[in-house]
Amino acid sequence: MTTKSLRMPQLFPRPKSSTGIWSWIGTVDHKRIGTLYGITSFIWFIVGGLEALMIRGQLASAENDLIGPETYNQLFTMHGTTMVFLVIMPLSAAFFNWLIPLQIGARDVAFPRLNALSFWVFLFGSLLINFSWITGNAPNGGWFGYAPLSGATFNPGLGMTYWVVGLNVLGLASIAAGLNFIVTILNMRAPGMSMFKIPIFTWMTLITSVLIVLAMPVLAVAGIQLMTDRVYGTHFFNSLGGGDPVMWQHIFWLFGHPEVYILILPAMGIVSEVLPTFARKPLFGYPFVVFAGAAIAFMGWFVWSHHMFTVGLGPAANTAFSISTMLIAVPTGVKIFNWLGTLWGGNIRLNTPMLFSISFIAMFTIGGLSGVIHASPPTDAQQQDTYFVVAHFHYVLVGGALLGIFSGIYYWWPKFTGYFLNEKLGIANWALMMIGFNLQFAPMHWLGMDGMPRRIYTYGENMGWETSNMAASIGGAILGLGILVFIINVFYSKMNKVMAGNDPWDGRTLEWSTSSPPPVHDFDEIPQVKYRDDFWFQKYPETIAEYHHDEHDQAVPSGAQLDEVEEALPVVSGGSYGHGDGHSAIHLPDMSYYPFILALGIAGLGAGFLSNNVVIAVGAVILVWGLIGWAMEPVNDPK
């Protein structure tokens, strides 16, 4: 309107349609992007799960020849890569997208187009890396890509190039999303919502986002070096040219260990929301849980070499990393105790989300304890690269991250869609997953102690590993059945809708104060926040004194002190919409095609490293077009 003189000629007008495919391609709505993330990563979850089932099929009996070693190596490489980068990270991102603006009382994220870009880059990156299956070049060097086995000499062909290029593309998506959520959480909180009043899931998202922004560039460095090793013959990690393969491990795990917390902290945030709601009590020791999360994220940078206790770094390095690894168990333990404290004395409703969250504590505890066992390098010398480690991290990532995510799905589904997921099917889903999961992964503990190495496609009849492996494979099938029940539940619940209303669980946080599903603009009026769990205290004002009385007694440092609450509510956050005035006109970001175009250019550039320079050039042209179009796009189309 006012900037007409500055406007560039537009190839595309701002998209307008609110339905149909173009409304999705042009969307910048955080809720729609969250849905896109959720659906895409769930499809990859099914793919990664089928890969796991094939692995379990092969290992079900000794000297099985269901699939050969080459396919097996591709399957476990892609299973790990898929589950880490295409499932748990983006499923968490789906929750970030859906929930962060709703939890902090905002109308969108800070950079809506950047948010859309993150999704499209993720989508194209995930398609690129899985395209390798179609060309018969699936990566086969492990999700950890250890040099020199991942280098061109020992692994010719395109497989590991797909892997490394795909990861670099995916990393861009994560970094952009991480920055977006940091800025969103710091700047766009509703008036009155100081940092110690934001919901715990938002805290965990903030911490995770900081980790993503710091850790993914580390992977990018290693990835670019490995890519040039493979594509242009450099010698960063190529021992034949004097490069150092151990350096790859250092860089990879310097990314890789913070990555573990990137995977688990969002689930911890979900559980920290679900437990208080279903126990009808506030989170026990909110500041402790926040600081424990921050401590985990900080200490997570000093433990990477515990993945390398057998690499031969020497007793001094192993001592240092053993101590730091044991220390990180402390804040993790604190969280578990605080969750138990939350449940203690509650009025606990065992609905599906709660069953998943309680199971999270139970299973994650097992993963944590086995982690302490191999934090000790002498015992780890026997467990490293065995099924004991496989059991450990599946208890953390399936028993932890995935159960937390399922808890979140059942918990927020009514908010996302307006109707419940079926409770009976939900319980069947939960029970099958829990039985299958434990049957699959518990036996792996002693398979490891029995000396079964990881990543072997077969084993001899004389090793005594058959019973446990058969049990694990049956467990895998039951776990798969549990996921199938979930999928059935999604469709069943859609066809037999049980409407939920705005606040079906008697929730505590702001997202339950708006309609289900929320309107495009999230909140008719930007909420004014006085308290932590503000929505709860609006509903139950009689409990305000009880909660804050305790707080004063215990003298816990907190932003939610009573006197502060009594203050007038000035503008606390620099939110773009409303500026503390909930009644101002609703302003929403306009849709745009350029995130899609820019993402296409980035993916094209990546595909070029797999094919030839012409493709690189085409990708670069699309990328530059996307950048310029993005930069010059008018704020509003002429009306």
Partner: protein, 482 residues
């Protein structure tokens, strides 16, 4: 407005979850399994198992307390019927929270003390007071293990022999990718990393045969990269060492063994050495193993030569394929005919000319396979005195050539690994100015690296060990080739 769903769930079925865990724990004690880290046969593995058990029982107590608390709380504080009472909206309890921050720290200190003690006891140098140290260089190859005893000048593969109750110090190496050296019953693993030699020491304190396996993913045959450790009484170990310096008896002319020996020489010997018993043979094996590596790495796709296990006194081995199968005539013949039927991905089938067939099986008749097997199984310390010079059958150049050279050189024009040698007598005199044909051929045999022909890999070992007479006979024979 605060509708609470009437969806509750009986908790007892949840207890069923513990059933698989319980079954799992009951089935856990399997110390007799071949690679069990319990039922140990050496003090290092024993200390590691003890430390594991120590931490395990602490973890088990925490496990029972936490899981018990979860179940107790979930039952005790479970919502009854339609009771919608609000529990006390407690904020937290700082003293309690500080307590459960400190408690894990204390538990971890208890775990850290024996951990650090064991790290420094196991990963530092070999303690002085444990007896005479045996030095071994263990080298990981895709996908087999080479063992060198530098002080005894013995080299072998896939079956490691060590004396009981004596510390063995290993230098761990790799040239290709990362492997990991692991004998679960004797000691935890240490990786074999290219350009980063590693160290591990161990003691076997029970005589017996133990399983080892590569623990670091190393490519297509990773699952099959296994080995055995044979722990001997000291006297038996010394006898084994002596045997490794005792040449096998030369097959009687015309015997099956002799036929097998010729077939082995023609088809196998460019990669497999099988007579590293004489003085100097240790150094030769090292240089020829390096030459094979150079040959493979210079032409990974089509090289006719690969790193391969030394087969000296193969007939005394217990297993084949690196601990994959018991060594029998049947398993050996299967291996020779079609190695991938036992070990998918093995390099010899891809690179050795004898497997260059449509189905990848050896270009050998069953009788020939049987002869090679007979010959290999006959390889044992013979009755000849240790340190005997290589038998050269007088100075029969044709025989020397057939035994030592034909796996890489043909007598025609075609390239095998090295150039075809037809007409070499005519060419040799004009290769290097001022060097006669005789000198050129002889020096090419003695120092092949100095006379490398363009386009061929630098893989040929130095053959001075043949002795002057034999080399003269060989040169005379070569000059007759047309």
């Amino acid at each position: 407005m605060h509708r609470v769903l009437k969806l509750s769930f009986p908790l007892r079925p949840a207890l069923l979850l513990l059933v698989p865990l319980a079954i799992a724990l009951l089935a856990a004690c399997t110390p007799d399994n071949n690679q069990s880290t319990f039922g140990t046969a050496g003090p290092i593995a024993e200390d590691q198992a003890d430390l594991f058990k120590f931490i395990f029982w602490i973890a088990a107590v925490v496990f029972v307390l936490v899981e018990g608390a979860i179940i107790y709380i979930a039952i005790r504080y479970r919502r009854r019927s339609n009771d919608d009472k609000l529990p006390h909206q407690t904020h937290g309890n700082t003293r309690l929270e500080i307590a459960w921050t400190i408690l894990p720290v204390l538990i971890l200190v208890v775990i850290a003390v024996p951990t650090l003690t064991d790290i420094w006891a196991q990963q530092n140098t070999v303690p002085q007071d444990l007896g005479e140290v045996l030095n071994v260089e263990a080298i990981g190859h895709q996908w087999w293990f080479e063992f060198r005893y530098p002080d005894q000048e013995v080299v072998t593969s896939n079956e490691l022999h060590i004396p009981v109750n004596r510390p063995v110090a290993f230098k761990l190496e790799s040239q290709d990718v990362i492997h990991s050296f692991w004998v679960p019953k004797i000691a935890g693993k240490v990786d074999m990393v290219p350009l980063n030699d590693n160290f591990i020491w161990m003691i076997g304190d029970e005589v017996g045969e133990y399983y080892g396996q590569c623990a670091e993913f190393c490519g297509i045959a990773h699952a099959h990269m296994r080995f055995r450790v044979i722990v001997h009484e000291e006297a038996d170990f010394q006898a084994w060492l002596k045997g490794m310096h005792t040449a096998a008896d030369t097959p009687v002319a015309g015997s099956t063994e002799a036929s097998g020996k010729n077939l082995f020489a023609a088809n196998c010997s460019s990669c497999h050495t099988n007579d590293s018993t004489t003085p100097g043979s240790y150094a030769r094996e090292i240089s020829s193993q390096q030459a094979r590596w150079n040959g493979w790495i210079s032409d990974i796709k089509t090289s006719g030569i690969v790193s391969a296990p030394n087969l000296t006194h193969f007939g005394t081995r217990n297993t084949i394929g690196g601990g994959l199968k018991d060594l029998t005539r049947g398993s050996l013949e299967n291996w020779i005919t079609d190695p991938s039927s036992i070990k998918i991905g093995t390099r010899m089938q891809k690179h050795a000319a004898v497997y260059d067939t449509a189905d990848g099986k050896a270009k050998l008749t069953p009788a020939e396979v049987s002869d090679i097997a007979t010959y290999l199984l006959s390889l044992k310390p013979g009755t000849a005195p240790a340190g005997a010079v290589i038998e050269t059958d007088g100075a029969d150049g044709a025989n020397i050539f057939a035994t030592n050279c034909t796996s890489c050189h043909s007598t025609g024009d075609n390239k095998v690994v090295g150039p075809g040698l037809a007409g070499i007598g005519d060419r040799a005199g004009s290769q290097v100015a001022g060097m006669s044909a005789d000198d050129y051929i002889e020096q090419s045999i003695r120092e092949p690296a100095a006379f490398l022909v363009d386009g061929y890999p630098a893989v040929m070992p130095e053959w001075s060990q043949l002795g002057d007479d034999s080399i003269d006979a060989l040169v005379d024979y070569l000059k007759t080739l047309n």
